[in-house]
Amino acid sequence: MTDHGEIDSVSGRTTTGHEWDGIKELNTPLPRWWLITFYLTIIWAIGYWIVYPAWPLISSNTTGLFGYSTRASLAVELANLEAARGEKMAALAAAPLADIEKDPALLALARAKGRVVFGDNCAPCHGSGAAGAKGFPNLNDDDWLWGGTLEQIMQTIQFGARSGHAKTHEGQMLAFGKDGVLKPDEIVTVANYVRSLSGLPTRQGFDAAKGEKIFTENCVACHGDGGKGNQEMGAPNLTDKIWLYGSDEATLIETISQGRSGVMPAWDGRLDPATLKAMAVYVHSLGGGK
């Protein structure tokens, strides 16, 4: 290589021959290996373009030499994961529902799996922590429309309520006002009566005897004597502290006038049996299970 720079008097080194405002640039060449490494990285990058999907085309992209794609490799990894978990999930599928909670390993698996599936499928209505919302039951408490034992929870998840499934829970809160069964003042009276059942304050001057009479004639059939509820029909207990739609007078009047018929979809056929079990165990373990 030719060397046209002069010798710098201070450092004794050659200069590159460049000079700006009287400052000359010393020639400090890079070590050869450094340069080779640099060129190799460039060659590597070109190889990378060829081997991997890299260049965008108009509606697709270059696919690379080996057809590698992150999407395909993700699919493979997911399949591997499923295979690795297969054994555990098979054990879950085989175990009788009642035994799962007794086996710490199965319980842990069911709860973990259940939590994820719950988040994907149930959270939109029941909330991510199953705390519920108006019209959507809180699954952490011990008030169950259709029963809170493990089997009952399983059944509700499988077949739903008013879901249209052949085995679904059926039961209706009738629209006493809309259908003309009760007159508006009767509805107000019975609403106050229902509030009194769970110890809530009632409207001044409300006729308890009349309320009871209306209740006995119209409501006892479903809600039972004293309003204790009936899980066969999904009729809530009216004496406890938990209200699905609200316990204030206006809400109660609305409920009695318009009726209620919330739908819980059936998950049977949409999720595999092991997953359904996991979900039932998860919901049961939230704390409200009987």
């Binding site: 290589m1 030719t2 060397d3 046209h4 720079g5 050659t14 200069t15 590159t16 021959g17 460049h18 000079e19 700006w20 405002d21 009287g22 020639n27 060449p29 890079l30 070590p31 050869r32 290996w33 450094w34 340069l35 909670e101 007794k102 710490p104 319980l107 842990a108 709860r111 909330g127 991510s128 922590g129 199953a130 705390a131 809180n138 952490n140 408490d141 011990d142 008030d143 207990n237 406890d240 502290k241 938990i242 373990s285 939230l286 704390g287 409200g288």
Partner: protein
Amino acid sequence: MNTAVNPNELTSDDDYGPLYASRKKVYPQSVSGTFRRIKWGLMAFCLGVYYFLPFVRWNRGLGAPNQAVLIDLPNSRFYFFFIELWPQEVYYFTGLLIVAAVALFLMNSIGGRLWCGYLCPQTVWTDLFYAVERLIEGDRRERMKKDKSSDPMKLERISEIVLKHSIWLLIAWWTGGAWVLYFNDAPTLVKQLITFQAPMIAYIWIGILTATTYVLAGYMREQVCTYMCPWPRIQAALTDEWALNVTYRYDRGEKRTSVKKAAELRALGEQVGDCVDCYQCVAVCPTGIDIRNGPQLECIQCGLCIDACDTVMKKIGRPTRLIAYDNDINIQRRQEGKPPIYRIVRPRTIIYSAMIAAVGGIMLYALLTRSLLDVNVLHDRNPVAVRLSDGSIRNAYTVRLLNKRGFDRVIAIDVDGPVNATVHVVGVDSVTPDRPMIVIGRDQTAELRLLVTAPAESNPEKSIPVHFHVTDIGLGEAASATDNFVAP
């Protein structure tokens, strides 16, 4: 002066210097002396520890790994003799790193690049590779001659080269091999490696480390220190005027000239220095520099030039340590006729030592008092509280128990919170009311869902603290955690 730039100079393509500089190969000569002996000793110690430590056994009881030092990645455990660390205790490593960093600063303020010269793996392995090279190809002169030889393809020469590279590769391979032994039971892994049963990742790592050792210690050598390592740049900022560095004591006079000429000049009453310009210090230097030019970035301060020069000084009957661990302050003082002073104890070194002692002390205290039974509690966030049909309030917690002992234990959980609260652990039928008992496996964690229910009459107004006490009912060992009980 401001000379105008000739535009042609900027555009013509023959005004550049060389694009790259090829390396000037260094041929360090063998040397003997104090620092060389220290370096041999430290090399034997460091390599001995590195190569053989995985084979040291440590009895931790049946079923537990019996390797003294083991990084058990699949089970996330780290074993170091009597210490077993869990993932949540990685802060010990943070502590260790802090101590290591400050120890580096301390070394630096006492003796400059002591780390570079004596302990850095790059130095140690390069030194070892040089020793092999010297053993097979001979010392400096011979190696230079062989490399220059116009007829390098003699059978003798080829066999020498093959032998050298084989031994290098063997050392490199053992270096990579020792590394993977820290991550698995060493004897088992050795057997697997020999029978090709070992996991692929082991072979990959051995391959990587064999390659890096071979290339870094066999070919890159001092270039790693000069071009790749950031430490030479950093340490310059950490050092101070009292730090002892390998220094040519120019106060011993100039000029440098041969023994004979020096004697003549002395006889004439002229000034001469002790240096006889024999270039021994340059010949032995593994980075190929001349320390007489003053402190240089390349100097790793290995002290070998001190040994070389001492040998010369003894031969010509002058005082030794013409090159020595010293500093400019003392050179100045001697020139002024004052005695040199060495100040190892100074604010800087005191602070560094104190920092090491403090961090080390904290780590030791934490280690000695750490509990082998642990409990962590996480309050359910959604919902934070649930009202039950009878008006009572329930809070749910995720309780994680950690059993760091090597045997199964029965743990009782007591909850001290709202009055008359009941406690239930999902999946556990308590024998004793309100005091669930859990069996937790050796060296394991258990995650429990724990429900605390306060009856309606003792409903807390807002939020009250709740304490979780866990007790090993066999050993009496206990741990506790505190959280809150919240009303909806």
